[in-house]
Amino acid sequence: MSQLENANPVIFQRSGDRLLTSNDEDEDVHDPIDDREIFDLIRAINDPEHPLSLEELNVVEQVRVQVNDEESIVGIEFTPTIPHCSMATLIGLSIKVKLLRSLPDRFKIDVHITPGTHASEEAVNKQLADKERVAAALENSSLLEVVNQCLTPTRGI
């Protein structure tokens, strides 16, 4: 990439590790998937243009993760760093792919742009919600390679 779209992004601090409780370690206690667990799956995804994670760029936040384990629904809102970010679809796709690969098949995964934070919010949301286009995109080997790069851990979280 010759020119960065957002050359000097604001960098946010990473969260600490999840604090384990005695219930987490007790095999007999039902342990539904919660927002922190989902957030841990997506916060270390790499930004396509910076050597930073989506958490460090504040693209994803734990408060923008909605989980209903009982209904098998996960909703994610992500916030592009700038309103004209051309990477918005790719970032959303990476979040979606990460969750599709990590969560049990029963989950319905909805990935949206945080309302009011992107110029083409509606178009990007529609594309991310269209599973046929997502399936076709993931059969495109060059695009899949870019997504996989975003999902390759660069350091421990």
Partner: protein, 335 residues
Amino acid sequence: MKAGLSPVQTLNAHPDSRCWFVGWSPSGTLLASCGGDKAIRIWGREGDSWICKSVLQDGHQRTVRRVAWSPCGNYLASASFDATTCIWKKKNDDFESLTVLEGHENEVKSVAWAPSGNLLATCSRDKSVWVWEVDEDDEYECVTVVNSHTQDVKNIVWHPTQELLASASYDNNVCIYKEEDDDWECRATLQGHTSTVWSLAFDATGQRLASCSDDRTVKIWKESPNESGQASTQRDLLWKCVCTLSGYHGRTVYDISWCRLTGALATACGDDAVRVFKEDETADPDQPVFSLAAQVTRAHSQDVNCVAWNPKEAGLLASCSDDGGISIWRFQEED
């Protein structure tokens, strides 16, 4: 007896993959399925159960999105994300690849045969609808490319008896095409859905068309006589939305099937459910009323992609899902 959908059989049709489509042969004796594993499978009844009769592989490099049986039942057309459409010819108990139709710029989303069997239509993410002519020597020639949609064209269906074609698109509209002086033209644009229209189904007479959408509704459209005497609009066909079914579907409605034998309307939904609606026969045909007659909320373990009524055996319904499975159901009406 209460109305209901009871399972007849489930088939793990496309393991570790997505099953996108199921379609009955015109005689109702065979069921074709296709999916993300690039394969087409043909299922037939043996005794009381449905078994896989043949697997058509190596026809496509990518997902097979849809297949269509020719009206005679001797040919199968398959539409693929690899931008091609394959024509398969039945030979004894198997199918052999006859020809490959190329031309679309990217993913072919759907394929459909006209009732005469002489025309084939394809549609693609490249926003176009192509009409192909078939001659006696099994040669295919593209006769028209229509660009009436502004986005990805999801599905196309032919009228049950006439050479009238309808298409559904990501641009939220439905278009209806007719031939005019050797050229196919969009003669009506049906506006009303607020998101992607995924699928369409004509009723038995072809006077009404049902559409289903990402906006979680089903709409019924009816052809109405064009009262306007203006020359400029005389060639336009007029289709009005006469009914909207809302509040029934929890997520995107991916497919709809209108039974030509019973008039029952089945839907495939992203909330994993299969639903069947019946029309109130006493209602005004210009203001039809449909009510939910049966539903199975966990019909599959993931999104339901397709529903298809058997064309000969009333009440026999097939559905398929992202979980790779096919289910066959029997719809029992209330006595």
